[in-house]
């Protein structure tokens, strides 16, 4: 250890995407921040982590033993589901209800197609075993302790690695599930067991069971991965306790993640939104539409008045995830989306994608069909510098060759077609944004767009213009916003009790009991994550009017649990805000009581205006209804208070920011670029 690193205090956020592992490293004392992308090594998971730490040591002088914080977001769970490589599971459920998983909620996408179908369940029907047990809604039970042994033997004989126990009404009373679980643990100690109530004890049997199945399905791979991760960190003598980012935008310890696997399935997209929200706050913005464009999809999220939005029906691969998750909308249009001309001569983009292999034609990795990225290259917005820290090279001729057949088919120039491809891709995203904003009931003209990821800044400003948004904020390091999100996230555990009762005086004692139990759980959870600082408990309830079959989450103060009129008032107000009407005379029901336990994380300080490398812009040719000269800036040359006008291009190691005509750009103190479109 040399003298210089003695006083250093490093905090590292790491996020794995499809192609790269992103590093965001902050030296807390100096405020110095470094970012890095390392190609993933699917054959040797964890090797990219060692490589990244080595590179940080080499380039930034990082001393692993000076790492006080290590936060990791991983796609190992979601990839296990998408690739269908999870554990072989058995499901023990009530006899007569074995098909609940296959029927799901009946409704399916593609409803105009006679070929519509649901995804193949993660547990096939022959691994689902009905037990002649039942809990009735009034709490009375039919048990069959003798039936478990035979079923477990069958499951084991069929090769089950783990067992999910999910019984009707376990949301109300989890003991029946717990007793069966105890029996299994005695009968088959080598099988892991999860009960539906321990994973997420919410009313609605399909949702609760499928959440437990997702948890069990990824459990062996996730815990294996986490073991390897901790071993790598130990080998590098990193003292920090490994933390994981969660779908709820918070953190938990890697240790917790071994059993609470389902909580981290959407961690990457969630921490991207957390990172963007934090950057927006630093830049003084509170209403944001985030945009992250990858090779195959574009993800959107809303930040309303500084608050990230949560949902409980996000999709994981083909399956809905019913735990609280940062709400992100996705559309299958990205840099790799392929353009084609249909039989009637209409130009279209997607849904086919060249993905990351072979990728866009211009990457020269075997792709020959024209993609959105190729269209950017043909128009001259891309291809002037190396990409992804020098790990990708672009060959503009290959992009032109790919677009040429379409141009020929349509009798137009290659540039015209390329520009139309971009217009269409943006209009596809526009559809998704319109859905998102109308669901949320917000007018996006009051919002700023924050593009991030490798692809967001390429198309973000065009999309903002299409939506009629007048402002865009491009952060300094768009490629590592997810990794940064992990660094700024708080510990966050979510807890729920289903109540399902009318809101009246008689219900209050039950609510108070639940609150006490939830608070204890929350405190215990934070302690288990190693948290010693301040604790913030956020209470809320899922409420609805009698007769409604959907509920909304209402933030509550704990002392309102002693006054049903305060709870009702909060519900009416929330209902009016979301749905534009309320019914103050209506009967109110409380479906769930929820509690989030937050442990505050130390927030980094961004003080990085130092590394400006002055350089003059150069002129490059860009096609905007015709070829013209456009100024190309390097990001490192843009100092605070710099201003310039679009059209322009800003290049940096991990992305290219394309700025259309009509925009005025200004650089702020933390090196964000703000665009303003003239009204």
């Amino acid at each position: 250890m040399d003298g210089q690193s003695m006083g250093e205090d490093w905090k590292i956020g790491v996020d794995i995407g499809g192609t790269f592992m992103d590093f965001c490293a902050l030296e807390a004392n100096s405020g110095r921040m470094a970012s890095l992308k390392v190609l993933t090594t699917p054959d040797d998971p964890g090797a990219e982590l060692s490589r990244g730490l080595d590179l940080l040591a080499e380039r930034e002088g990082l001393d692993p033993s000076r790492v006080s914080r290590f936060v990791h977001g991983t796609t190992v769970g979601i990839n296990t589901i998408i690739q269908r490589k999870g554990a072989k599971l058995a499901l023990l459920t009530n006899a007569g209800f074995e098909d609940v998983i296959e029927l799901a909620r009946l409704r399916m996408p593609e409803m105009y197609s006679l070929f519509c179908h649901r995804p193949e369940p993660l547990i096939p029907r022959d691994m689902i075993f009905g037990l002649p047990v039942r809990m009735r809604p009034d709490g009375t039970r039919v048990d069959a302790p003798d039936a478990v042994e035979g079923v477990v033997a069958q499951a084991r004989a069929a090769g089950a690695q783990g067992i999910i126990v999910a019984l009707l009404h376990a949301w109300r009373d989890s003991r029946q599930e717990a007793e069966i679980r105890a029996q299994i643990e005695t009968l088959a100690p080598d099988l892991f067991v999860f009960t539906s109530a321990e994973v997420w004890p919410v009313i609605r049997e399909y949702e609760r069971t499928s959440t437990a199945i997702l948890n069990g399905y990824v459990h062996p791979r996730v815990s294996g991965y986490l073991n390897a991760l901790e071993a790598r960190l130990a080998a590098k003598a990193v003292p920090a306790r490994a933390m994981l980012t969660k779908s709820n935008g918070g953190l938990m310890s890697a240790h917790e993640g071994r059993r609470d696997c389902v909580s981290m399935l959407l961690s990457g997209t969630a921490s991207g939104v957390i990172g963007a929200a934090w950057l927006a706050r630093q830049a003084g913005e509170s209403r944001i539409l985030t945009l992250d464009i990858g090779g195959t999809s574009a993800d959107f999220a809303l930040i309303i008045d500084g608050a990230v939005q949560f949902g409980s029906d996000e999709l994981v691969g083909e399956f809905p995830l019913h735990i609280p998750s940062v709400s992100v909308s996705s559309i299958g249009i990205g840099g790799g989306s392929i353009a084609s001309v249909d039989a009637q001569g209409l130009l279209r983009v997607g849904p086919e994608s060249a993905g990351s292999t072979p990728g866009p034609a211009c990457y020269g990795r075997g792709g020959t069909r024209p993609t959105v990225t190729d269209a950017m290259v043909v128009c001259g917005w891309l291809g002037h510098s190396e990409m992804a820290y020098g790990q990708l090279q672009m060959t503009p001729d290959l992009a032109r060759d790919a677009v040429a057949p379409l141009a020929q088919a349509m009798g137009r120039s290659v540039e015209e077609v390329a520009q139309a491809i971009l217009d269409i891709a943006i209009s596809e995203m526009f559809v998704e944004v319109e859905k998102l904003s109308s669901r949320a009931g917000v007018d996006l003209r009051d919002f700023a767009l924050m593009p991030f990821g490798g692809g967001g800044p390429m198309l973000g400003a065009f999309l903002a213009r299409e939506i009629g948004m007048s402002r865009v904020i491009a952060p300094r390091r768009p490629g590592v916003v997810s990794a940064l999100g992990g660094l700024v996230a708080d510990l966050r555990g979510d807890f729920i009790r289903t109540v399902f009762a009318g809101l009246d005086r008689d219900t209050l004692p039950l609510l108070q009991d639940h609150f006490r139990a939830l608070s204890q759980e929350g405190h215990a959870w934070l302690v288990a994550q190693g948290h010693t600082g301040a604790v913030d408990l956020k209470l809320s309830a899922d409420m609805r009017y009698g007769g409604q079959s959907y509920e909304i989450e209402v933030a509550l103060e704990p002392d309102w649990l002693h006054d049903e009129s305060k709870m009702a008032q909060a519900f009416h107000q929330t209902h009016a805000r979301i749905y534009d009407f309320d019914d103050p005379a209506g009967r109110v029901e409380v479906v769930n009581l929820r509690l989030s336990a937050l442990g505050d994380a130390p927030k980094p300080d961004l003080g990085e205006a130092a590394d400006v490398v002055p350089a003059d812009p150069r002129a490059v040719s860009v096609y905007i209804d015709g070829w013209r000269d456009v100024a190309l800036y390097t990001r490192a040359s843009l100092a605070p208070a710099a201003t310039f006008e679009g059209p322009a291009i800003v290049t940096q190691e991990d992305t290219t920011f394309a700025i259309p005509p009509g925009a005025v750009a200004r650089v702020d103190d933390t090196l964000n670029i703000h665009l303003e479109f003239a009204k």
Binding site: G96, F97, E98, D99, V100, E102, L103, R105, L106, R107, M108, E110, M111, Y112, S113, L114, F115, C116, H117, R125, D126, R136, P137, L168, H169, W171, I203, R204, E205, Y206, D342, A343, Q344, L346, L347, V349, R412, E416, V417, A420, D423, I424, S427, E428, F430, V431, V433, E434, K435, S438, R439, G441, F500, G547, Q548, S549, Y550, Y579, D580, F581
Partner: protein
């Protein structure tokens, strides 16, 4: 002419506007019909009232080809801010039963109407004889609730409070109607704003010519599909189990005439208009959207990129003679037309299945049955009325895949209610909710399985209605060697000595402790089941989808300890009789029925009835059914002669002449 290169940009803006309208309505509506069942539509229309954009995520699937033109023309002097509406199935032929309330709003650009925004909601109740305004037993439209012919509901932004008061006075849940209608007006306003934004983006001329190009594009796509289909006449008939409380079958017949890139759908030979509410009010419009819903499914299945708008209806022309079930005249009741519409879709699927056998699936279960219960909660001493669950069946076997189990094909939009929610809110206890073994039609690709639901009640005289129940007698058919599916059934106290089948009835009264089991039909099988991969059959048996006995009987697969006995299977399959050359397999019930009611006999019946005055037709059908003895056209003539003898008032001269020809 709009530039084709960027037409998709306009298409996306139009779709975005429609999606925005749908989400706005869904978010702000009050009733479960709109919020949960999603029984609503929204659309953008061109200056003539032809739909050019609909949402793809939310709402019902019936109206991408709807034209509002006739209804629009029945109101005069539109001004900015006006909204007009109607729910009358017999004015303008936009609404197809009284609960469906359609609204439309002009979009002005420089004093000129350049577009309309529109949509419908299904009101929970519109008054009339029964709660929810729907019952199969109703016989005239006047019993089905209050009707408003096309008129203005909002004048330059101001609601007509007189109309709202009349409605509130006459319906059972006025707050829901008012809330939903206001939510729909909000959605129309949103759509209007979005159209203005499109006009700003593309210019007025660009917008108008672009909208025309979108319709042309959909038409070209539809014609391209038709061109791939061999020219010919494809004839198909299917039956609803019961035409009314009289309980005779109702036949729908289609001659699909494919000619190059166009098609005629001739429904001549379908039943006369019925003395029940199963009539489908198309108004005789050759391109009425309600007659073409099955066509949308076919076109979308063949080309999932097809634009859904009125352009795709242009190559099609329907013939539905006046006074028949598909074109009733007032005051025929129409409330329960959804049951008939399900059969109408299967007739269209059956005709296309003959035209393009390689590309079409076998019949879907085709009974979108909704179970409602009225019982008493012994804990609260309150009467509870609740919708339990839809009981729908599987899709038909597909060209390269088994039919979807439990629901699918043209019933994919329905959603169920969790058992835990129902049991907590309604005093019923579920005994079973799942898939019914051996209910999918056997085939190289098996039909999707039926859904089976059984529940127990605790209070005396608990009343159950099973709306749209069908397929208890006529099975969903198999194709290309595939077999028909299992039948729907409704049984009180199944698997007990007191078991009582409800036949085709759609109601039941239960006493404390009674269990009611409701099963849908399954989906038809596709291709010869004897050619199904034995490993797939073994898998079906392992999963409980198919019994060991059915594996042997229907698939010729012999299993030993769960594994395929290869030698025994080969021997059993080799010993099978030759497969029938018939393209369709209907099952013994329809085969038995058609032994008497041959195609020629039923054609004779519909010919006779068509020649009678409309108000005599259904009566005469019922009387002929009462009297028929023997089979074939002669038996029909004899039964008609006997009917004429019994009812000398019957103005039969024309009909006898027809029959003699």
């Amino acid at each position: 002419m709009f530039d084709k290169m960027t037409l998709q940009v306009l298409a996306n803006h139009a779709r975005a506007a429609a999606e925005n309208m749908a989400h706005t309505l869904h978010r702000t509506a009050h009733s479960a019909f709109v919020k949960e069942t999603q029984d609503f539509t929204v659309m953008l229309m061109d200056r003539r009232g032809d739909t050019f954009a609909v949402p793809m995520d939310l709402g019902a699937t019936w109206y991408p080809g709807l034209t509002y033109g006739r209804a629009i023309d029945m109101v005069e002097d539109y001004r900015p801010g006006d909204v007009a509406f109607t729910n009358d199935p017999y004015s303008g032929h936009v609404a197809t039963h009284a609960p469906d309330t359609h609204l439309w709003k002009p979009v002005f650009a420089e004093d000129e109407i350049v577009a309309w925004t529109g949509g419908h909601i299904h009101n929970t109740d519109m008054g009339g004889a029964v709660p929810a305004s729907l019952s199969r037993s109703l016989t005239e439209i006047h019993q089905e609730g209050l009707r408003f012919p096309p008129m203005k509901l909002v004048n330059e932004g101001v609601f007509d409070e007189q109309i709202m008061r009349i409605m509130s006075t006459n319906v059972r849940k006025p707050d829901l109607n008012t809330g939903d209608i206001k939510a729909l007006v909000g959605a129309l306003n949103t759509g209007e704003r979005k159209v203005h934004a499109m006009i700003e983006r593309f210019g007025k001329t660009g917008f108008v010519s672009g909208v025309a190009a979108l319709k042309d594009q959909a038409e070209a796509q539809a014609r391209a599909i038709l061109q791939q289909i061999p020219d010919g006449d494809y004839v198909f008939a299917d039956y609803a189990d019961e035409d009314s409380d009289e309980a005779n079958p109702c036949r729908l017949k289609l001659t699909l005439k494919i000619r190059d890139d166009a098609a005629i759908l001739d429904f001549t030979g379908s039943d006369p208009q019925l003395g029940s509410s199963l009539n489908v009010p198309s108004g005789g419009d050759p391109r009425h959207t309600i007659l073409l819903v099955g066509v949308y499914y076919v076109l979308y299945t063949l080309n999932p990129k097809i634009l859904l708008n009125t352009g795709l209806t242009r190559p099609f022309s329907c013939i539905a003679p006046e006074g028949t079930v598909l074109n009733p005249v007032a005051p025929a009741a129409v409330g329960m037309r959804s049951l008939t519409c399900a059969r109408l879709r299967s007739v269209i699927f059956g005709a296309f299945a003959q035209a393009i056998p390689d590309k079409m699936p076998a019949a879907p279960a085709g009974n979108n049955c909704i179970i409602n219960v009225m019982t008493r909660d012994e804990r609260t001493q309150k009467t509870v009325i609740a919708a339990i669950n839809p009981v729908v069946g599987g899709g038909g076997g597909m060209p390269h895949r088994d039919g979807t189990n439990g629901s699918g094909a043209d019933a994919a939009y329905l959603k169920n209610t969790p058992i835990e929610i129902t049991e907590t809110e309604v005093p019923v206890e579920f005994v079973r909710y799942g898939l019914a073994q051996d209910s999918g039609g056997p085939g190289l690709w098996r039909g999707g399985l039926a859904t089976e639901m059984a529940f127990k009640v605790f209070a005396p005289d608990s009343r159950i209605t099973a709306r749209n129940r069908d397929r208890s007698f006529f099975r969903p058919w198999g194709t290309g060697g595939g077999r028909a599916a299992g039948l729907a059934a409704m049984t009180v106290n199944p698997d007990t000595p007191q078991a009582h089948s409800q036949g085709s009835k759609d109601t039941a009264i239960l006493q404390p402790g009674d269990v009611l089991a409701v099963r849908s039909a399954g989906g038809g099988g596709r291709g010869n089941p004897m050619l199904r991969d034995p490993a797939r059959v073994a898998r079906d048996v392992a999963c409980g989808y198919v019994s060991v006995q059915a594996a042997r009987r229907d698939y010729g697969v012999v299993l030993a300890g769960g594994a395929v006995d290869v030698a025994a299977t080969q021997a059993l399959r080799a010993a099978q009789p030759a497969v029938s050359k018939a393209f369709f397999h209907f099952g013994p019930e329809r085969e038995g029925y058609e032994a008497q009611w041959t195609d020629a006999a039923y054609d004779r019946l519909t010919d006779i009835l068509a020649a009678l005055p409309i108000h005599w037709r259904f009566f005469t059908k019922t009387e002929i059914f009462r009297r028929i003895d023997g089979s074939g056209p002669d038996a029909v003539d004899a039964a008609f002669a006997a009917t004429c003898a019994r009812f000398p008032e019957l103005p039969y001269h024309g009909a006898m002449q027809e029959a003699a020809e």
